[in-house]
C-alpha cells in the first residue's frame, strides 16, 4: 500500500523503535543472565553449555523486533 510521505516517515520511525526497544529489552535480560552464567561457569566449567543456552534465550525478543521492523518496512 502506498503511504503519503509523512505516514511513511512515521512508519519508518516506528520500525526503528520496534528494533531499538526490542534490543534494549534483550540487552537488559542478557546482561543479568550473562552475569549469572559467567558466575556459574567460573565455579564449574561444565556449566558453559547450559549457561550459553540460557544466555541467548532473550535474543528472540530482538528477533521479534527485527521481524516487526521489516513487516513495517515492507508496508512502506
Amino acid at each position: 500500500m502506498a503511504l503519503d510521505p509523512v505516514a511513511a516517515g512515521m512508519a519508518l520511525v516506528g520500525a526503528g523503535i520496534a528494533i531499538g526497544a526490542a534490543g534494549i529489552g534483550t540487552g537488559i535480560a542478557q546482561g543479568q543472565i550473562g552475569a549469572a552464567a559467567v558466575g556459574a561457569t567460573a565455579e564449574d566449567p561444565k556449566m558453559f553449555g547450559k549457561g550459553l543456552t540460557l544466555m541467548v534465550l532473550p535474543e528472540t525478543i530482538v528477533i521479534f523486533g527485527f521481524v516487526v521492523a521489516f513487516l513495517i518496512y515492507g508496508m512502506v
Partner: protein, 663 residues
C-alpha cells in the same frame, strides 16, 4: 551414526594370581569401562593395591615435590624416554636429586622469606626516617599515646588549635604527610578525631631497636647479600633443572601410570582365590579382549558377557564419521547424551555450517575463515578443543564461501555487480566482470530471506520432534504421541504463516505450490489477516492431543513453539545486519580511498577500511554468527528431544606423552 557405540556388559574373572597381569592387559587394550565394586560381602572384598603401589607412590610424591621446587611444572621434554631407562636410573637419580634439590629449595625459600621480612621492615620504617626518634621510643608509655602513620594533609594547624600539649614530627611526602604524634592520654580522643579528619592511616612499627635511618641502611645491605646468595642458589638449581628436567617429568608420567595401575584392585571385587572385574566393553571389541586375555594371562582369566538389566546405564562413546567428529565438541559443551538417546552430532555437522554460511554469506570472509580454521588445524594440535574448533571454523568458512559465491555473489561486503535498485553502488565490476549474479541480495531481498529462514526453521524443528518421538518411543508411548501432537501444531503454524505470506515471496509461493499442495486451499479473513482453515484444524487437533498426552499446562508452550519458529528469522537478521555493516563501512571509506586524490588520505582510508572490516565484520560477525548457529541447535532444536546426562565412556587406559613403553 545417530546412535552411540553399542556396549556390552562384561565381567572378567580369573585366579587371583593373574590379577596383576589381567589389569596390565586391560590397560593396554583400553576398552573396558570399569564399574566400581561397592557391595562387599563375606566372600568378596575390595582388592589390595599391587605390591609396587606403596613404593611407586612414595617416589611419585618425591618427584612431584621436586617438580614444584624446581618450578618445572610446565616443562615439556624434548624427546621421549624409554621406560627401561627410567626404571634403571630412578633410584640413583632420586638420591642425587634429593641431596641437591631439597636442601637448596629449602635454603632458597628461607632466603626469600628473610628478604621479604627485611623489605617490609624498610617499608614500615621509611616514613619515620629523619624524625630522629629511635624505634623503641614509639611505645611503652603509661601516660602518653603515640600515633604513627600518614595523613592526607598536614594536621599541625588543627592540633595546635585544639590540643594543650603535644609533640608532632612530620614530613611532607609525594602524596601524603608522614607523622608521629605524641599526646597525653587525656587528649587522645580529641587527637584521634583531628587525625581522622586528615585521613590518618596508622602504620605499625616493627619491634626493633635503634634509629630508623640506621636500621634501613643495615637492612638494605643485608638484602644485597641475601640476593647474591639467592642468585647463586638459583644458578645451582638452574643447572640441576637443565640436567634433570626431562628425566623428572618423564619419570613422573611413568610413575603416575604405575600408581594408577597398582591402585586399580581397590575398585574391583576379590575373594581369597579369585577376582571379578565388572564393566562395559564396546560390543565390537569383546572378541579382541577375549583373545588378548587368553594369550597374556595363559588362560587364567576369562571374559564373560552378561545380559544387561533394564536399569543399567551403559557409558556413552559417541560414534560418528570422521568429518563429523569435531562437532561432538558442541555436544560435550552441553552434556553427554544418554545411551538410549539419539546423538545429534550428525545434525549439527550438517546444520551448523549451513546456518553459519548463510549468516556470513560472503566469499571473501568465507575464504578468510577457512584460512583461520586451517591455521588452527595446522598449528594448534596441542590444544584439543581449539583443534576441533578449527575443523568447525573450516567447515563454516567453506559454506560461507559457497553462499557468498553462488547465492549472494559478494566478497568482503562488496557485491560482484551493483544491484538493480542501486546501480551506483560500488562493486567488483571495477576489477573484474565475474559472471555470477546474486540469487539473493542482502539489502533488498530481506522478506525473501526471512521466508527462507522460516522454512529452514520448520524443517529443523520438525526433525527435532521426530528425534523426540524416537527417543520416547521405547520408554513412553504417551510422550512419543505428544511429539506427534507437537508436529501437528508446528505444521499448522507453518501452513498459516505460508498462507499469510501467500505469493509475496518466491519462497512462500514455491512452498505453497509444491509442499503444501495437498492442503486444501480454504481460507477466511479475520481482522484483515488470511487464516487458513486447515491450519487452524491442524493446530486444534494438535492442541487436543497435547492436552490428552501432556496435560493442559502444555498449552502455554504452544506460543513458545511459534516463538521458536520466528526465532529462525535470526538467520536472515544476522545476514542482513552483516551486509549492512559492511556496506556502511564501504560507502563511507571507498570515496576516501578512490576519490580523494590525496595519497595519504587514501592510505589512511584503506587502513581504516581494513581494520573496520576485520574487526566488526570478520571477527564480531563470525563470532555472533557462530553463536547464533549453535544457539539455534541448542535452544530450538535440542530442547525438543535432548535430555543428556549420560556417563562418558572412560576405559581403563593411560596416555604416554613423554615416555615409551619398553617391550
Amino acid at each position: 551414526m545417530l546412535r552411540p557405540e553399542e556396549m556390552t556388559r562384561a565381567v572378567v574373572v580369573g585366579s587371583i594370581d593373574s590379577l596383576d597381569a589381567t589389569i596390565e592387559c586391560l590397560y593396554e587394550l583400553g576398552v573396558l569401562h570399569l564399574i566400581d565394586f561397592t557391595a562387599q560381602d563375606e566372600e568378596f572384598k575390595l582388592g589390595q593395591p599391587m605390591a609396587k603401589a606403596s613404593d611407586s607412590s612414595q617416589k611419585l610424591l618425591k618427584l612431584r615435590s621436586m617438580i614444584r621446587s624446581l618450578e618445572i611444572e610446565g616443562h615439556k621434554p624434548g624427546q621421549r624416554l624409554q621406560v627401561s631407562d627410567i626404571s634403571r636410573k630412578m633410584e640413583q637419580a632420586l638420591v642425587t636429586l634429593d641431596l641437591n634439590t631439597t636442601s637448596k629449595a629449602e635454603a632458597r625459600q628461607k632466603i626469600q622469606t628473610l628478604i621479604r621480612e627485611k623489605e617490609s621492615e624498610i617499608k614500615a620504617l621509611e616514613p619515620f626516617r629523619g624524625f630522629g626518634v629511635p624505634v623503641e621510643d614509639y611505645e611503652g608509655y603509661d601516660n602518653i599515646m603515640v600515633f604513627s602513620g600518614t595523613c592526607r594533609t598536614d594536621p599541625n594547624p588543627a592540633l595546635t588549635a585544639k590540643l594543650k600539649a603535644f609533640e608532632l614530627f612530620r614530613k611532607q611526602r609525594k602524596a601524603d604527610v608522614a607523622i608521629a604524634l605524641f599526646v597525653r592520654n587525656d587528649e587522645r580522643l580529641e587527637a584521634s578525631r583531628i587525625l581522622a579528619e586528615h585521613d590518618f592511616q596508622e602504620i605499625k612499627l616493627p619491634r626493633l631497636k635503634g634509629d630508623p635511618e640506621e636500621i634501613i641502611a643495615k637492612n638494605a645491605s643485608e638484602i644485597k647479600d641475601l640476593e647474591a646468595d639467592l642468585a647463586r642458589i638459583e644458578n645451582e638449581l638452574d643447572s640441576i633443572r637443565k640436567q634433570f628436567a626431562d628425566f623428572i617429568i618423564a619419570s613422573e608420567e611413568h610413575l603416575a601410570i604405575q600408581v594408577l595401575k597398582a591402585e586399580t584392585p581397590l575398585r574391583i571385587a576379590t575373594s581369597a582365590n579369585s577376582f571379578v572385574i565388572d564393566g562395559w566393553i564396546p560390543t565390537s571389541r569383546v572378541h579382541e579382549i577375549q583373545t588378548a586375555l587368553d594369550t597374556l594371562c595363559c588362560g587364567l582369566a576369562f571374559v564373560e558377557t552378561v545380559e544387561s538389566e533394564k536399569e543399567d546405564e551403559p557409558p556413552v562413546k559417541l560414534k560418528n564419521p570422521l568429518p563429523a567428529k569435531p562437532f561432538e565438541f558442541f555436544i560435550n559443551l552441553v552434556s553427554t547424551p544418554k545411551y538410549d538417546e539419539l546423538d545429534p552430532t550428525l545434525v549439527l555437522f550438517i546444520t551448523f555450517p549451513i546456518f553459519f554460511g548463510f549468516m556470513v554469506g560472503d566469499l571473501g570472509f568465507g575464504l578468510g575463515l577457512m584460512a583461520l580454521g586451517g591455521l588452527m588445524r595446522w598449528k594448534l594440535k596441542r590444544f584439543p578443543d581449539l583443534y576441533k574448533l578449527g575443523a568447525i571454523v573450516l567447515a563454516g568458512g567453506f559454506l560461507a564461501s559457497l553462499f557468498g559465491l553462488l547465492v549472494f555473489a559478494e566478497a568482503f561486503g562488496v557485491p560482484f555487480h551493483p544491484p538493480e535498485e542501486a546501480p551506483d553502488e560500488h562493486s567488483w565490476e571495477v576489477v573484474a566482470n565475474i559472471p555470477i549474479h546474486p540469487r539473493l541480495d542482502k539489502m533488498h531481498d530481506s522478506m525473501e530471506m526471512i521466508a527462507i529462514s522460516l522454512v529452514v526453521g520448520w524443517l529443523h524443528l520438525t526433525l527435532g520432534f521426530v528425534f523426540g518421538f524416537v527417543n520416547n518411543y521405547h520408554h513412553s508411548k504417551k510422550h512419543a504421541a505428544a511429539k506427534v501432537a507437537w508436529l501437528l501444531v508446528l505444521f499448522g503454524l507453518f501452513v498459516e504463516i505460508m498462507t499469510v505470506a501467500g505469493s509475496a515471496t518466491e519462497t512462500s509461493h514455491f512452498i505453497n505450490s509444491t509442499v503444501l499442495v495437498p492442503i486444501p486451499d480454504a481460507a477466511t479473513t479475520v481482522i484483515g489477516v488470511d487464516v487458513s482453515l486447515p491450519a487452524v484444524g491442524l493446530i486444534v487437533v494438535g492442541v487436543a492431543g497435547l492436552i490428552i498426552t501432556e496435560g493442559p499446562l502444555a498449552l502455554t508452550e504452544v506460543v513458545g513453539l511459534f516463538t521458536n519458529l520466528v526465532s529462525y528469522a535470526r538467520l536472515a537478521a544476522l545476514s542482513i545486519g552483516k551486509g549492512a555493516m559492511a556496506l556502511a563501512f564501504n560507502s563511507m571509506l571507498f570515496p576516501l580511498i578512490f576519490e580523494s586524490g590525496n595519497i595519504v588520505v587514501a592510505i589512511l582510508g584503506a587502513l581504516a577500511l581494513f581494520v573496520s572490516q576485520m574487526f566488526f565484520v570478520f571477527f564480531i560477525g563470525a563470532l555472533s554468527s557462530g553463536i547464533q548457529a549453535v544457539r539455534l541447535n541448542y535452544v530450538e532444536f535440542f530442547l525438543k528431544f535432548f535430555e543428556g546426562g549420560g556417563t562418558d565412556f572412560q576405559p581403563l587406559s593411560y596416555e604416554r606423552k613423554y615416555t615409551v613403553a619398553t617391550k
